[in-house]
Symmetry: none
Subunit: 218 residues, 4 copies
């Protein structure tokens, strides 16, 4: 898929190599900080310090505090997708492929917990273009699940209509995020392995209703 356009984050520095390096430092520091205290309570000074340079230098690589948040959200998305694709075995087909796609996503979220949580909870603090771009990435991810669901539907393995497929794609996305934003409860009850197993079961078979009452969807 074609990479989505990114919001332009201004920098006073010319060397693109350096910009990338410094911004990686910033994102790493910011993720940790935002996790601990939240975006609003973290100060730019703290981000600079945690990034390993001065406040002045920080502002050589960003235009505003919000840019930091944008960089975080943007790069978290990229990393999730990168790691996720790495996990996929291209050979699988059918339900197994779908299972694998979902499981891999959940496992990446587990590994990038802090990152995903921050992106998830603070995205709403973005404004204007930044928000637009990040939501586009959200939608792009959702579409990836949609594509997979359509594939199994075309193979005749599931019987969902278009709208149900779309909703299911949202659902998968949210169930991954849920592993982070409800971790205060879920991670006391379940390991990631259990979470993957039970959620797959739930997604595929629901409550395992024994004697289907009337089918809700005619």
């Amino acid at each position: 898929m074609s990479p989505l356009p990114k919001k332009d984050v201004p920098s006073l520095v010319k060397d693109q190599r350096l910009i990338d390096k410094r911004r990686a430092q910033i994102v790493k520091a910011a993720v940790q900080l935002f996790n601990e205290k939240g975006y609003h309570k973290a100060t730019t000074r703290e981000v600079a310090k945690a990034s390993g340079f001065s406040i002045g230098t920080l502002y050589e690589y960003i235009g505003s505090k919000e840019d930091i948040l944008y960089l975080v959200c943007d790069s978290v998305y990229d990393e999730v997708v990168r790691k996720w694709e790495k996990l996929l075995d291209k050979e699988l087909r059918g339900m197994e492929r779908l299972e694998q796609v979902v499981e891999a996503y959940f496992r990446v979220v587990d590994v990038l917990q802090d990152e995903v949580l921050v992106m998830y909870q603070e995205t709403k603090s973005l404004s204007g273009d930044a928000l637009k771009y990040v939501l586009q990435k959200e939608m792009r991810m959702k579409e990836m699940f949609e594509v997979e669901l359509e594939r199994v539907r075309e193979a005749g393995l599931i019987t969902l209509n278009d709208r149900q497929v779309s909703l299911a794609a949202h659902q998968i996305l949210v169930l991954g995020q849920m592993w982070t934003f409800r971790r205060w409860a879920l991670q006391k009850e379940f390991t990631i392995d259990e979470y993957v197993r039970y959620q797959l079961q739930q997604l595929f078979y629901g409550f395992s209703v024994k004697k289907p009452a009337e089918n809700v969807e005619s």
Copy 2:
């Protein structure tokens, strides 16, 4: 169920009737404001003004800005439960009962969208006791769903183990909240009626897998 303990919010005013009235005004104003700009960007002066009184008066009824957020979260929970219980038809049994419980919850969330969204997104900004009390209320709601699920399980209508029941309860809760925090996408695609129908379908029957691959849970 016994009402959960509440955090003590200090007030300089003695008349409890008046306190309740003013705090209701505050909560109403705060919900709207926090929805528009978020908890952190809303100022106490704005809350006071939107509540219809001066900043000084606001502080006669709360001890700190965080108290406002606590009042919002606490009262939203109470209102959700109150409205929800009102919708329930006590006559129903079995899967129909469960269906109704979930549907009623989704519909209440739809009606109280702004309130639920604020509670949902800003709870994390609470600290100390306030956070503890609000999370207790979250857990209490989850337990309500758990009880319903156990009931149908005991009736032999579904085949989930204890942990799956717990997870499913979390899930129902989150699917309600999801209707608010993804409304930017979902509410463009679905009406609340559709959302209810599809999510019930999904919860009960999953993807309607045609030829069950190997069952994930042995």
Copy 3:
């Protein structure tokens, strides 16, 4: 001596008997409060509460917070003088009379420690007329000592010129106050009895220089 004019403190209440009673309550409460936290850190609400009535009632008897301080300073002075005069034995004459006058003053200060300390430390927070009236009372007290000193000088018992007499009167006044404002140190080292004894000795005989070097005052 003719009573000095007092600053007019406005009251909405007509009954002078009641005014006096309430103001006595206010002064008593204020002295304690100002001692604990100082005039600026004590709030009018606290004064009202400690006085035994509401903030509204407080303002029926005073016009402003500063009036409270004025009432305190004014009444402390009056009480010091009243108690002091009570202690004096009118029969004494000469140095014994002077000794007694000073000793009685020190002892009254000791009894009214909290009151004197507040008056002493917070007088400077008064403004305009209030300050003027209180300083007049200070001067009046100083003059009382001056009169006594002049009396013994006229009896030929001491050899001080007019200016020295005036300074000595200031000194006596300050030595009394010093017992309160340095109590954190003095009252660990001395009892009031000792303080009286040593200060009288010092006032009358100085350092007990053995072989008077050249006399400083020709």
Copy 4:
């Protein structure tokens, strides 16, 4: 004598040279301001403005308003001692030495009137450690006088017991401060030269009682 420990006043600025310079500005401005309106009525913005920089800059060099007061008290003490020591002629001995010590102290107080007055009147507004450290400096000064008094006593020039020496040291300290806190009266009546002369006379010889009545101290 070993310098007393100082309370740590936090600064966001790293250059110690600059910190010292800016704090000197702050102290100078604060002394003037506190003299005019008192510590409580002076605002931090006023201090900043009078210091020649913005409120933000002020807070780069202090942690709280109280720190300003602490800096004032602390530096006033240091300056008094510094200036005082400069005035002392190390050659003098005996009563002349004592006379000189006291006189020099009074003269320094006269020069640093505003500073001493502020320190004197506002010290009580300090809390916790700050107060502790400032009172330690007070005690240190008192001990300096004590040492001098003991020296002349050992030379057999005066006949005071240990406790009288201690009290006399307090007294000298207070007589210096008195020149500032009663300046509204004293400085109308006396020049500093007169004040020095009369107070020395008083300290050394008391009221010049002609025919010692009974000696107070046996």
